[in-house]
């Protein structure tokens, strides 16, 4: 860690070279899934206000397309992007190359085969009807086996680290690497292999869904924020000594909070109550994390103009705060009674998965990919289109879904309003939702085009280093002491 600048630089380049192809392919398949899942999502969204659209075919009925889209986005886009980003960051922070990357291609290939079969299985009628576990049973083993390879690479890279300190991002990545397979395997066993009885099934399902979002996607997004902020701003995380407390507090309470999804459900009332208590207790770590992250950016907002990654990470942090506030609100019984089963519930998961996680991955991609390929993004216009669509679409969807869900909940609870009138009142909002998703989709297409230019050898024009000017003091050398042994900046 006390090596001179240039050797640190060489080391980083060595790491990037070792990670180049696996990470590029993970991001490439993630983006393909983002488009495919987005297309399915648009078809499903259109069907809500145009029920006749593509309704003659069994494969494209709403009940199949909607979960297929969700699965394609979560397991196709979300997981692939998290793998690519996680492996790269783990190697960087552990100051060691990503070894035997060939095996990662095997895992990548099988993971994507598994997701493809799973999505086709849902469309073809083999759905299990458990949220986010809809993929048919035979896919489970393919996914778990290929995940085992990827997870093992991440953990091995961590355990052969050449650094003395373990940085916050590494805790989150390391934890997530274990939580996902455990959650997934346990949920599969308890729901499909040896199903638990009756009302226990929703409990297991809620535990899994909450865990997947809160112990996989959220930690990966936080790992990105904890890494890129100090890296790009060239200053340590503010109040970093509180970060370990926030980490443990966050993950322990999140693990218990799954029951909060079952308020009002036919399960013993202690289950949702425990979940709600878990969510209330989350306030402390969320405040700490917000202090850490926003405190680091505070006063440096001018740097946002120079770094796309920083802008996306900031969006992701806002998404994190919003998602946490919503999570808290959805633990309050009186509020839940109104907005339960409406677009509002959709908003909770969308905020974690899209506004918090996906935007963090976009930010990471804008940082990592030019460094791996040693090229520039071809079109600044497409980059602008991407970030513009993401921010605008995100704002519109958040506000729209929140208002529409609130409205829908009031109508649903008012028995004087016929059900069909609730539907009629919601049709404009379903159309609004489609418009928001179209906007996001446009941004994704723009990003994908730029990615193709960047990653494919056809474009040999640009061989310059990344477009984003390295900020001064980009932690290439030894960091100034922060007053204690843990450094706020990763290597």
């Amino acid at each position: 860690m006390t090596s001179p600048d240039h050797s640190d630089r060489t080391e980083q380049m060595e790491i990037d070279t070792s990670a180049k192809w696996p990470v590029l392919f993970f991001f490439g398949s993630a983006l393909l899934w983002l488009l495919l899942g987005g297309a399915l999502q648009l078809i499903a969204a259109l069907k809500l206000h145009l029920p006749g659209f593509l309704s003659t075919c069994e494969w494209s009925t709403y009940g199949r397309v909607a979960p297929a889209a969700q699965n394609a986005l979560v397991y196709g886009w979300g997981m692939n992007a998290a793998f690519g980003f996680g492996l790269w960051l783990m190697a960087r922070l552990s100051a060691t190359t990503l070894r035997h990357g060939g095996w990662l291609f095997v895992a990548l290939k099988f993971w994507n085969i598994g997701v493809t079969l799973g999505v086709l299985g849902i469309l073809g009628g083999y759905s299990t009807s458990f949220e986010l576990l809809e993929m048919p049973r035979f896919v489970t083993l393919i996914l778990l086996a290929s995940y085992a390879l990827i997870g093992a690479w991440s953990v091995t890279t961590f355990s052969i680290r050449n650094t003395e300190n373990v940085f916050a991002s590494q805790w989150y990545l390391f934890g997530a690497a274990f939580w996902f397979p455990w959650l997934y395997a346990l949920a599969q066993v308890m729901l499909l292999k040896a199903p638990v009885r009756g009302a226990l099934q929703p409990v297991v399902n809620a535990w899994y869904v909450h865990g997947l979002y809160g112990l996989w996607f959220m930690p990966v997004a936080l790992a990105a924020a904890y890494y890129f902020l100090p890296k790009i701003l060239g200053k340590p995380i503010v109040n970093y000594y509180l970060a370990p407390l926030a980490f443990w507090w966050l993950v322990v309470t999140t693990a218990f909070a799954g029951g909060s999804r079952l308020i009002g459900a036919p399960v013993p009332v202690w289950i949702p109550t425990l979940g709600a208590v878990g969510n209330y207790m989350l306030v402390v770590p969320i405040v700490i994390i917000a202090l850490n992250l926003f405190g680091t950016v505070s006063g440096r907002y001018r740097a946002l103009g120079g770094s796309l990654t920083l802008r996306f990470i900031l969006v992701s942090m806002v998404g994190f705060v919003l998602a946490s506030v919503l999570n808290l609100a959805l633990s309050m019984r009186g509020f839940v009674q109104i907005v339960q089963f409406t677009l509002f519930t959709e908003l909770r998961d969308w905020l974690i998965f899209y506004a918090c996680f996906s935007t963090a991955m976009f930010g990471a991609a804008y940082f990592i990919l030019p460094r791996l390929t040693e090229r520039e993004w071809r079109s600044p216009l497409l980059v602008k289109a991407h970030i513009g669509a993401t921010v605008l679409g995100g704002l519109l969807l958040t506000a729209g879904l929140a208002y529409a869900g609130w409205h829908q909940g009031h109508l649903l609870n008012n028995s004087a309003v016929e059900f069909v009138d609730v539907t009629k009142a919601m049709l404009p909002w379903f159309a609004f939702r489609t418009a928001g998703l179209v906007l996001l989709f446009t941004g994704h297409v723009a990003f994908f085009i730029n990615f193709v230019f960047l990653a494919c050898p056809i474009n040999s024009k640009n061989t310059a280093v990344a477009v984003f000017r390295d900020p001064p003091n980009m932690s290439l050398g030894p960091q100034p002491p922060v007053g204690h042994s843990l450094k706020g900046v990763g290597p």
Partner: protein, 219 residues
């Protein structure tokens, strides 16, 4: 936090605790719920689904009905489920022990279906019609038509089917054609007709509606 092993143990404990605390504890409490024998007529409740209805459950599952329809009636005082007559009472955990797969759902783009078989309008014809042409029974709905669950064939040259749907001319496929439910449609409708929690368990009633009589409520 420099020690990888300590980190691993903490990570392991996080999930193990929540698994044991939430899922195992719930399993201990709910896992052995049994049918209840009515003291008056010695009938066991909830009654198991018929074979055809159980096949219908698989159709319900593969078509993803759960994406838009919940199957849970919230208790009195929580939301407007009872006022909407979606059930005579809130759902109990015991209602679900007969269900091989539980579809409590989380979205009400469509109405709740937990007691759809008990509603006054609910008969096989109603369900066939709303599956084939939703607008014929609920004008303005955004429910998709499930025409693929039906065979449409010409009447000419064969005996008309006894199961053919009687549809208003606006929704009928045309003169000389009849719409006959497939086996899957029959199974699905049998399942929907079987969805009714009309029996009120005396033991559950006392357990699920406390805190009303003594005005203070809390213990």
């Amino acid at each position: 936090m420099k020690n990888g092993l300590a980190l691993f143990l903490g990570v392991f404990a996080t999930l193990a605790l929540s698994w044991a605390g939430l899922l195992l504890t719930a399993h201990r409490q709910l896992g052995s719920l049994s049918q209840f024998k009515d003291p008056v007529d010695d009938v066991l409740h909830p009654q198991p689904l018929s074979g055809l209805a159980d096949q219908g459950r698989l159709v319900y599952q593969d078509l993803g009905c759960v994406t838009c329809h919940t199957q849970q009636v919230r208790q009195e005082g929580s939301g407007g489920d009872l006022a909407r007559k979606w059930g005579e009472r809130g759902s109990y955990a015991r209602d679900y022990i007969r269900d091989t797969t539980v579809f409590i759902g989380q979205s009400r783009i469509g109405p709740d279906l937990r007691n759809v078989g008990a509603r006054t309008y609910a008969d096989a014809d109603f369900f066939y019609s709303i599956l084939y042409a939703p607008q014929s029974k609920a004008p303005g709905t955004n429910m998709p038509a499930h025409t693929f669950l039906f065979d449409v064939h010409p009447v000419a040259g064969r005996q008309p089917s006894a199961h053919a749907l009687t549809l208003p001319s606006k929704f009928a496929p045309g003169a000389g054609l009849e719409v006959v439910p497939t086996r899957r449609a029959e199974a699905l409708v049998a399942y929907l007709l079987g969805l009714k929690d009309t029996y009120d368990y005396p033991i559950e009633r006392s357990r699920n509606t406390p805190a009303e009589k003594p005005k203070e409520g809390g213990h």
